[in-house]
Structures are given as structure tokens and as C-alpha cells.
């Protein structure tokens, strides 16, 4: 064999030998390490007690009622705001209300826990209007210096509803009924660095 051919054969043998030695692959030294991570989301949980606040019958103009309900943050995340959305249906006993809305004459006042200062004062009809136009009031901001509901905290919401006596004939509302539903919507706060 000439020199060139012999050289090539030797190289090939070395290569083959090397391959045979390392099991047939070229492997860098390496190592692995594992990083484990967990991301757990918190819960946003608003509860209300009681779930029926007002159940009043035999109302007449001038009557008023004061009731309380408690909102509690039973989740693990701070609640930033609690929007109170108002919807209602009216049963017109004698079909004689025309364009008058009974809810225009039910005035809602939010009081402090000692039943005094009025914090928010709107008719039910106006509250519904505000809800429908995306301006439902934030009831967590009515009380206390902290204007939200942190984890584990409760706020007692005190409300007074008055059937306004206009001094005029309100007989169209005799026997009528209002079914009022408040949906309290709690929202989280802004994202924060953790």
C-alpha cells in the first residue's frame, strides 16, 4: 500500500477505535439539575349574611325599615371593591300604575353602623339606573379608612329604606310588590410584584 492509503487507513482505524471505546457517540461531560416551581392562585370569595335582607309586607307611605347585612372576604385574596348591582321587578296589583315606578318612591340610605350619618342616598329606581349604566356603587368604599375588604375582614352594611310619603295620592301602589335583587360583585386589586 502506498503512504497516503496507509495513513488514511490508520486514521480510520483510530476513528473506529475511538468510536468503539465511547460506545459509538461523542458525549460532552454534562450534568442536569432540576428546578421545581409551583404557582398557586389565590381565591376571591365574597360571602353575604343574611341572603335575604328585607322581607317587608303591608307597607304604606311613610313607613321605613332598617336592616343589616354583613359582607365577608372568605377567600385568600384581598377584595378591592364590591359593586352593588340593583335589579328589580314590580307586581302592579291592579295594573293601575301607568308610567309610575314604585321603586322611585323607595329611597335607600346607607347608614354608619350606629345608624347615623347617611353615606349614600338614592331611590331604588336611581340605583338600578346606575347599575345599568355601569356605575353601580362600590359599597366596600363606604366604610372605614381602608377602602376595600382585606382577607378575613367583614363589613356590616346598614341600610334604611323609606317608602316616601309625597303628601299626594299614592293609592296606585296599594297591594303592589317589589322583588329586589342585589348582586354584589367583588373584584381583585391590581397586580403586584411578588
Amino acid at each position: 500500500m502506498n503512504l497516503k492509503k496507509r495513513f488514511a487507513l490508520t486514521l480510520a482505524s483510530v476513528g473506529l477505535g475511538a468510536a468503539l471505546v465511547s460506545g459509538g457517540t461523542f458525549a460532552y461531560f454534562s450534568d442536569t439539575a432540576v428546578v421545581n416551581n409551583t404557582f398557586a392562585t389565590g381565591t376571591l370569595d365574597l360571602s353575604v349574611n343574611p341572603t335575604v335582607a328585607f322581607d317587608v309586607a303591608n307597607l304604606k307611605p311613610g313607613d321605613y325599615m332598617v336592616r343589616y347585612f354583613e359582607i365577608t372576604n372568605s377567600g385568600t385574596l384581598d377584595i378591592q371593591d364590591v359593586l352593588m348591582k340593583t335589579t328589580y321587578t314590580i307586581e302592579d296589583a291592579k295594573g293601575d300604575n301607568g308610567s309610575e315606578d314604585f321603586a322611585n318612591y323607595l329611597n335607600v340610605e346607607f347608614l354608619t353602623s350606629d345608624g347615623q350619618v347617611v353615606l349614600l342616598n338614592q331611590s331604588l329606581a336611581k340605583l338600578k339606573q346606575l347599575s345599568d349604566s355601569g356605575k353601580a356603587p362600590d359599597i366596600s368604599s363606604l366604610y372605614g379608612f381602608m377602602k376595600h375588604l382585606p382577607v378575613g375582614d367583614s363589613d356590616v352594611i346598614c341600610m334604611k329604606i323609606v317608602f316616601t310619603d309625597t303628601g299626594l295620592d299614592q293609592n296606585i301602589f296599594q297591594g303592589d310588590k317589589v322583588n329586589l335583587k342585589w348582586t354584589l360583585e367583588a373584584h381583585q386589586g391590581k397586580g403586584v410584584a411578588k
Binding site: 381565591t43 322581607d55 304604606k60 307611605p61 321605613y64 385574596l77 323609606v162 317589589v178
Partner: protein, 197 residues
Amino acid sequence: MNLKKQFALTLASVGLGAALIGGGTFAYFSDTAEVNNTFAAGTLDLSVDPTVVFDLENMKPGDWSTRAYSIINDGTLDIGNVYLSTEVTETDAKGDNGGESLDEHIYVNFKWNIDNGSVPVFDMSLAELKEKTGTDRPNIAEAWWAATGTDLPPGDLDDILVQIEFRDNGENQNKFQGDSIQVKWTFEATQGEGEAL
């Protein structure tokens, strides 16, 4: 790659990863709770039975008549006030009354006939009674309140006793012979004061 580029690339990857985890939109956590409420208005409903109380004929000075009738609260609310208005129409048979009215000689006495006795409401001539309008009208519920301390509750109430007398004034009352009077009594019921429920 230089350090800056590498860093930027890492950040971008993390951002992309986060977006993918969140389903591609940013959605706030929220929760709702409901409070249900009902408000029902009561009814105010007054009725009187019978609706014709006196139907008298052949009266002469000195005659009187006593009748009882029921005031009934047919509604669900207490009645706070019952105002009485009186309309009188006289017929002068011979056109000879000369400005004098028979109603000046007819006296009306209202009493509540309550279980343990009677409670006076008012006692006056028809002529006086018909002048009592608006806020002057006698309030029948007031006497009830004075006796029982309550507004008129729903249900059948005690009777009203009415006595009508053609008063003999000891003088010549011949001009009233053959005359007649129609009296219409209208009872207006109103609610009591607003209260806490």
C-alpha cells in the same frame, strides 16, 4: 449573543409564557354573592254596611230614630283617620220655609258602640254638620283612638250608633210639613303615620 440581547430574549420568553398560561387574555378574578329582598305595599279599604241608614217618613217634631251600622276595614293596613263629609238636599214641599232650613232642626248624634259601652263621636245639627268640610270634618277614628288607643284594625269593627232627632223647639214648625231631606255621608279613610317595620 451579547448580554443585553440575551436578557431581552429571556424576558420576552417569560412574557409569552405568562400570556399563554392566562389563555391569552388578562382576566380579573371576581366573585359574586346575591341578596334577595321583597317589599309589598298594604291596602287601605273602607266599607260601610248598610249603605242606606235612614229612610224615614212621616216625621214630626220630637220624633227620633236610632240606627246602627258597621264600619269595616277591608284592607290590610290600619286606618288612621275616617273623615265624614255631609251633603244635604232639602225639598221644601210648599215653598214656604222662607230661608229657614229644616236641617237646623235635625240633630245628629254619632256614637261608637264598643263592647264595654258607647263612645261619643259628635252631636250637632245637620246644618252645622254640613258646614264641616276639609280639615273641619269630624274624624270618626279619633273617638275610637281615644277609647281603645289604637288605629282601626283590619276586620269588622264595632258598630256606629246614629241617632237622628227632629227637635221640637216649642214653636210653630208648620212650614216644614211635607218637606224632606236627603243626607249623603261620605267617609274618607286615610292611613296612619309612617312607622318602622
